[in-house]
């Protein structure tokens, strides 16, 4: 499959040569061409950061909003027109740092959106400070003696919150990336895919080779419906497992449960103000 439908040849890409984002962009366009039936009903949402520029380079509707705030906007886009397929693509600083509160509560809400988090364990756009997932002792111009904070563990947090789909991939393993991200987009409910990705400019530790050496694939012995097992895999640190950690089918999604859609399935833009209902309520105020 080729990503033609989503190719945007005019794009002036501002990533460094060799950046892991290129791989993610190309793989994502291929996957979208395969799984998105109607590109007119597909929306990319991002925040701010190098990863958050990805929508700029795709021929697709996009909402490139504020740093950390992609998830609330994406949730509302889906809730305002449930026929849209919504994919959020942004970096770990955006999702786990600035937008940490939204990350937690979006999982609780469980909208039917896919959340792809480019995780390179460093801040790129602001030039090399620690990110929420930077390892302890990682030295930066700000963390001069090395990071002293515990790295944020997005998968463990998501599983603790009973997220409906939790996965991790490394962008260097293309076939695996394709398989998992495809499943994430097709999954009904909130789907988190944390993507290991090297930053060739500001992170000399977590390189392509580092990720190859320190990851392994979850195999058939892992039961993706077993939350305890998923949590155990999520807190492994020596070598990081890749694959689907946890998934649930049939968990109710946010927009399906909204009162607005119980009687009427029409997206909001097709609705007219219900003046009859207003008059009914005004009349009740007379008694």
């Amino acid at each position: 499959m080729s990503g033609k439908a989503f190719d945007f040849p005019q794009a002036e890409i501002s990533w460094c040569a060799g950046c892991g984002n290129f791989g993610i962009l190309n793989l994502l366009k291929d996957i979208l061409a395969e799984v998105v039936a109607d590109p007119q009903r597909f929306v990319l949402v991002s925040g701010i950061g190098q990863a958050a520029k990805l929508p700029q380079y795709v021929r697709a509707h996009y909402f490139n909003g504020l740093h950390g705030r992609a998830l609330p906007s994406a949730t509302a886009i889906k809730a305002s027109n449930p026929s849209l397929t919504v994919v959020v693509t942004s970096g770990e600083g955006d999702m786990y740092g600035e937008g940490g509160n939204h990350f937690i509560h979006t999982i609780r809400r469980n909208p039917d959106i896919t959340n792809i988090v480019h995780n390179n364990m460093v801040y790129g756009l602001t030039k090399g400070q620690a990110s929420p997932t930077s390892a302890r002792d990682f030295k930066t111009p700000v963390q001069v003696n090395g990071v002293i904070l515990e790295p944020f563990n997005p998968l463990a947090v998501a599983i603790a919150l009973d997220a409906s789909f939790v996965a991790r991939v490394f962008m260097g393993f293309k076939d695996h990336f394709r398989e998992i991200v495809k499943k994430a987009i097709l999954h009904k409910g909130y789907a988190l895919v944390d993507v290991f990705q090297p930053c060739v400019t500001f992170n000399k530790i977590n390189t392509y080779q580092w990720f190859r050496d320190r990851t392994y694939f979850l195999d058939d012995s892992h039961d993706t419906h077993n939350r305890m097992q998923a949590f155990e895999r999520a807190i492994e640190t020596g070598r990081f497992p890749l694959g689907i950690f946890y998934q649930q089918t049939g968990k109710p999604v946010f927009e399906d449960q909204l009162a607005a859609y119980q009687q009427d399935k029409a997206p909001l833009f097709q609705r007219k103000p219900n003046l009859e209902a207003v008059n009914r309520i005004v009349d009740k105020m007379r008694h």
């Binding site: 007119q40 009903r41 597909f42 929306v43 949402v45 701010i48 520029k53 929508p55 700029q56 021929r59 697709a60 509707h61 996009y62 909402f63 490139n64 909003g65 504020l66 705030r69 609330p72 906007s73 994406a74 949730t75 509302a76 886009i77 889906k78 809730a79 305002s80 027109n81 026929s83 849209l84 509160n101 939204h102 937690i104 509560h105 909204l258 009162a259 607005a260 119980q262 009687q263 009427d264 997206p267 909001l268 833009f269 097709q270 609705r271 007219k272 103000p273 219900n274 003046l275 209902a277 207003v278 008059n279 009914r280 309520i281 005004v282 009349d283 105020m285 007379r286 008694h287």
Partner: protein
């Protein structure tokens, strides 16, 4: 020591104040009492004043019962029902020798005042539930106004229709017991209350400011609300949540105000018509989102319900302290509109209007209210439930659609994803016509010009201020928002042939039609419920005109009619 009561006669307009601890059920009494007075054919309004606590303290509600619609806050108390021991002290400055003071026999300690004692708690206890003391008070008050116990019982039965039969019967007994004490009070004070009854009022509605805002939003086409609870804005969230299925609107309690406004913007992007309702502190968190609305040229409607700050301030009280906040919030430069309703009807009409304005010009629009206005209840003949939308509906996009296309009018047709064949790209970075990031200086300048031009376009639809009082005036009061009723009533009381009042329903963009009205006056008095005189500052910046006198109040209470009379006409 006993004091001989003086004979009491009240005409046309009676102010009843109910005082009790938080959690004692004062609000229930207020709601039923308003219905009782309305069905008796009286105009009625209620103004609440309460503490930021769930139990204890003293909360009061002032109910004005009158032959013509008057809804402003009065200092004067004609009848005080003091259900808690601290109540008399709480309102002591508002009592006069003429005030009839009703106390709860069991809890009243004070001596030396002319009081009328009713065993509210004892009766309630005998009937088996302390909460019934409220119903005793209903029966008591009805008797003072010449309303029969039967009329009260009809309202009590309908208000408690969902309760068990036993509870309803006990409430009816409580009404009768209270009513009998009320007759004794009438006798003792030789009380006469003369208020003309008007049968038409029975058909009127009883509505609050927050209900008017919520219903106005629906009429304006609101179909998405994301908010975080914060007094005094929460009533709008609650009301719309409770009717979300009937109206077919999405209502979500966000994790914080930052999420709320970013949800709102996401909804507008996808074709929804979103509202956020919040107060100053919550809106402060929305500032960056407001700026995003400016950057992506998204419509947005913000109901900013003011309360006294800074920071947490006085959470349950009132102030007009956030005009400057609404005016200057958000980094960068972009246009906005600020609507300032002063009556319940205007809250309704302007909230509906805000959606059309926001949609047409693709700008954020504020509706600035406050606790006093939102918690006000009143009888009202009618609400204009008609769609007056000036919206531009989202366009069906063509394949070559560009979200930020430069046009003659300055407005780019607003497309949404999934409607048409074009691609809709919005970006918080500076962008080109297609919505893609650019750092081209010429494009940047053109985009800034395009956005800023909407300030001029907003003037096409600016709401002119409304003049009240003398046509050939020498002195002019200017004011905005919730001070309206108290100013108008003061003006009507004084009948000063030299004085007029210019009421601003929109303060920004500043309505230029106001300028000749202001220039005509020899003296301009600006009345605001804040300490800084924010509106007179806005006037000076926008027009170069100065006011001669500022009447400012910032103790957390609304202006009363009496204090305005004193301050405007410099009495005492």
């Amino acid at each position: 020591m006993s004091i001989m009561p003086v004979k009491r006669i009240f005409h046309h307009d009676v102010s009843v104040v109910l005082a009790g601890e938080a959690g004692q059920g004062i609000e229930t009494v207020e709601q039923i009492l308003m219905r009782i007075f309305k069905s008796a054919g009286y105009h009625v309004s209620a103004t609440k004043e309460y503490m930021s606590r769930v139990r204890g303290g003293t909360n009061t509600t002032e109910i004005r019962v009158s032959s013509r619609a008057v809804v402003a806050f009065l200092d004067r108390i004609d009848v005080l029902v003091a259900l808690d021991p601290g109540a008399i002290d709480h309102v002591k400055d508002r009592l006069s020798p003429k005030t009839i003071i009703i106390v709860n026999e069991e809890s009243h300690k004070e001596e030396g005042r002319d009081i009328f004692s009713v065993p509210f708690s004892k009766i309630a206890w005998e009937l088996g539930n302390r909460i019934l003391s409220n119903t005793v008070a209903l029966g008591f008050l009805a008797a003072l106004f010449g309303i029969s116990a039967e009329e009260v019982i009809v309202q009590v039965r309908s208000s408690f229709a969902k309760k068990e039969a036993d509870i309803i019967e006990k409430n009816c007994l409580a009404v009768q017991r209270g009513f009998n004490f009320g007759l004794q009070a009438v006798d003792r004070y030789q009380l006469t209350i003369q208020i003309e009854r008007n049968a038409d009022i029975k058909k009127q509605l009883i509505i609050s400011g927050h209900e008017a805002a919520a219903l106005g939003a629906v009429v304006g086409g609101c179909n998405f609300l994301a908010s975080y609870p914060m007094s005094p804005s929460t009533g709008v969230l609650t009301f719309l949540a409770q009717h979300a299925d009937e109206f077919g609107i999405v209502v979500e309690q966000a994790e914080d105000e930052i999420a709320a406004i970013n949800m709102g913007l996401g909804s507008w992007y996808a074709g929804g018509r979103a509202l956020v309702t919040t107060s100053g502190g919550g809106f402060a968190l929305m500032s960056e989102g407001l700026s995003l609305a400016g950057a992506i040229e998204s419509p947005m409607v913000i109901h900013l319900a003011q309360r006294p700050g800074p920071a947490t301030g006085l959470p349950t009280r009132t102030e007009q302290g956030d005009l400057d906040l609404a005016l200057y919030a958000g980094h960068g430069e972009f246009p906005r509109a600020i609507l300032t309703p002063g009556t319940i009807e205007d809250v309704f009409v302007l909230t509906a209007w805000a959606f059309g304005l926001a949609d047409r010009y693709q700008v954020p629009v504020f509706i600035l209210t406050d606790q006093g206005l939102l918690d006000l209840y009143q009888t009202l003949a009618e609400l204009p439930v008609v769609s007056t939308s000036i919206s531009n509906e989202p366009v069906q996009t063509e394949p070559d659609y560009k979200r930020y296309r430069f046009t003659q009018s300055g407005l780019s047709p607003r497309g949404i994803p999934g409607f048409g064949q074009g691609i809709v790209c919005v970006d918080s970075d500076e962008h080109d016509e297609s919505g893609h990031i650019t750092e081209d200086g010429a494009v940047r300048r053109a985009m800034v010009d395009k956005r800023m031009k909407k300030h001029e376009l907003l003037l096409e639809k600016v709401l002119a201020p409304v003049l009240y009082g003398a046509k050939d005036y020498k002195k002019l009061i200017i004011a905005w928002g919730s001070t309206f009723h108290a100013i108008l009533e003061a003006l009507e009381l004084q009948k000063d042939p030299d004085m007029a009042f210019l009421y601003f329903r929109q303060v920004y963009p500043f309505p230029e039609t106001a300028i000749p009205f202001i220039k005509k006056a020899k003296e301009v008095i600006c009345i605001e419920n804040n300490a800084g005189g924010q509106f007179s500052g806005l006037l000076r910046r926008e027009t170069g005109l100065s006011v001669h006198k500022k009447i400012l109040k910032y103790n957390g209470a609304p202006f009363s009619v009496e204090e305005l009379v004193r301050q405007i006409w410099e009495q005492e």
